[in-house]
Symmetry: C2
Subunit: 399 residues, 2 copies
């Protein structure tokens, strides 16, 4: 027998070598207890969470939890069916209504994961003779949607307006074109120049899809994301988002004003051929989305946290991925993978969890300690976090 | 602008024509209330559910619901992170432990949907120079896993042992080969000849993946599926399954005894780049799986229901997809799409929900009314169902 796993031998070896040095494995942590959106117990130790996507801290909101429990009682634990057969309950419709209201769009379609939303929408709307233009730093689910579909893929340099314009101009005028952008790019937490990019895309006859996964809930006056902040909501054809970040559960969605959008429910394979979300999940999502509409105070506090952490880390001598805080993600650039892994472990020993991001997942093959702030972090917690960074940075020689 | 939706115009037109006749839309039903695994309210009318995948009726099990509510209180509504970062909670490990125990396998990996389990495992383990052999009636998620991956795809005729053998013999001896089979095929509810197919696959040096989505919980002595029933558990390399059928919630999994299996957690993109399941979902899944281990009475009753419905429909003069009941799915073959749609609507008016399956999703372009039985259907409900089929069949002239 030819072992299909032999292709992973080099990786397995590399990993064993790393762990044999005594380095803690950054990719197999278990949250033994979770006490709040910002505190968990890891390896028996109380730990501040600074590496979740729980931006708005909705996961322990009493109304949201109550909605989930009620749906368990009323509708049971699952639908055991696809949205197009027996898997559309009242709650799925209510969740889509909440999304339509949140964004002010005509159509909303809920997917079982955010990954499947990108996979499904991209692979379905862009067909064989169409072109998909995407930023090279796009999320894996966007690349996977391209891999599953049949369109021609045209990548362009990250956040580079001219590069996008050049590529658009090279394409046949009559061809279908889809430009895919993200509001916030998750590795460095930087924001896309949507205003310019949407304008040149529309001028070139392209449709525009914006993934607002890392901006929903706290960017823009109503938390609709970067498209709202930059005033281009009306020119965006599709907004993709997720329930597993600011909304605080799991699932994905696409909203659109396209008059033919509802046909997606019949032709989008990752929507049709998958079980719908459990009633408790759509109930928590709908409740959370409606609360996010009135979350301006939380939004303001999240921004305070972001600015405070960014300024504090900079003052300590760390190198940050963006000159100014552009989102709730503050990426601290490490000198190399070895130093980054040590710093990550040192912070964990201090009682702080951040995300270690390493090549090849990172731009320019950087090693990053990615910090994601939450609206539920108190100002005192941010002070504490800065103290931990200072001690760990000095202990590892990074500052 | 070239409208990317113009490719769907013919379908939109076709659908509008169908619905303009007054035919109720089989693909946009809403379950307004769900009273039990077998009864819902649809369009204000109490309706028996005979078209769910709720085979073991676990969705309203009080222990399962209680586990979901406790997890909401203890761990919140979501993890807001990937399994490899902050998204592995105690409950995800417990759910994987339950799966290992259920199957008696060394490794278990939980995905956020069953669709992503097939997508991820297939596209990751079968690489550029490998071959994937699959039954032409395979589920969409299997085909989509092939489309996303880079292996050579070799389809073979449904459940045809010789066809599989011939294709295996044509492939280079040294090449990596993955044979993908399903325990039960969902359209007709027929079972694969796993014993012979697994043997010839192993003889040809192939690895074998069996999708037991529609057999887990009630086929085999311990409900492990067709591989257990046919005595080939030890020769199967990967079992894929879902939480959205017998288990009663949402999610997917792969179990394996392969010593290198854990590397999947690092390289399988639909596992890495997606948020993990909410704590309440894995808690309900783990509780349900443990109860299914002791579900032999429920299993026996489900089989009684299946035999009774199969015999009853046959006696009424309907044409069934399989000569004998082979699973919990009884597929009633309709003369054509028009007749099938009328019969489906007539049953719904009687107060019975079944699945209408139509070309191109069906084998040999048949139109099917797919009935899926539940262990919670009472014998009286099955009688009632047969009465409804008789009346609707006569009214539509199908019997």
């Amino acid at each position: 027998m030819t072992d299909l796993f032999s292709k992973f031998d080099a990786l397995i070896q590399q990993r064993e070598t790393l762990l044999s040095t005594g380095q803690r494995d950054p990719f197999s942590l278990v949250m033994e207890e979770v006490k709040s959106p910002t505190v968990a117990v890891v390896n028996g130790k109380e730990t501040i969470l600074l590496g979740t996507y729980n931006y708005m801290g909705m996961t322990f909101d009493p109304d949201v939890i109550a909605a989930g429990k009620k749906a368990l009682d009323d509708f049971g634990t699952g639908t055991t069916g696809s949205r197009v057969l027996n898997g559309t309950y009242q709650g799925h419709r209510e969740c889509e209504d909440a999304l339509k209201e949140f964004y002010g769009f005509d159509h909303a379609m809920v997917f079982s994961t955010g990954y499947q939303a990108n996979l499904g929408i991209i692979s379905t709307i862009a067909g064989k003779d169409d072109y998909v233009l995407l930023d090279i730093d796009s999320h894996a689910s966007i690349y996977d949607g391209c891999a599953m579909g049949n369109a021609q893929i045209v990548p362009f340099r990250h956040n580079d307006i001219e590069a996008l314009e050049k590529r658009l101009k090279r394409l046949p005028e009559e061809a279908g074109k889809l430009v895919i952008l993200e509001g916030v790019y998750s590795m460095l937490g930087d924001v896309a120049p949507l205003k310019e990019m949407v304008r040149i895309s529309k001028e070139a006859g392209a449709m525009v899809l914006v993934d607002e996964a890392h901006s929903m809930g706290f960017i823009g006056e109503h938390g609709r994301g970067v498209a709202e902040e930059q005033g281009v909501m009306d020119d965006v054809d599709f907004i993709i988002g997720t329930f597993s970040k600011s909304v605080g559960t799991v699932g994905g969605f696409c909203v659109s004003n396209h008059p033919k959008f509802e046909v997606m429910r019949l032709v989008c394979r990752p929507y049709v051929f998958t079980a719908s979300l459990p009633p408790s999940v759509v109930a928590t999502a709908a409740t959370s989305i409606r609360k996010l509409m009135h979350g301006s105070e939380k939004r303001a506090h999240l921004w305070e946290n972001s600015r405070k952490l960014h300024a504090g880390l900079k003052a300590l001598g760390f190198t940050i991925g963006t000159d100014e805080p552009q989102s709730a993600i503050i990426a601290v650039i490490m000198p190399d993978l070895e130093g980054g892994a040590k710093m990550w472990e040192s912070l964990l020993n201090e009682g702080l969890y951040v995300n270690l991001a390493r090549p090849p997942a990172t731009p320019a093959n950087m090693t990053l300690l990615r910090c994601s702030l939450c609206a539920e972090h108190t100002s005192e917690q941010v002070d504490e976090i800065l103290g931990m960074f200072e001690r760990a940075g000095k202990a590892t020689g990074i500052i």
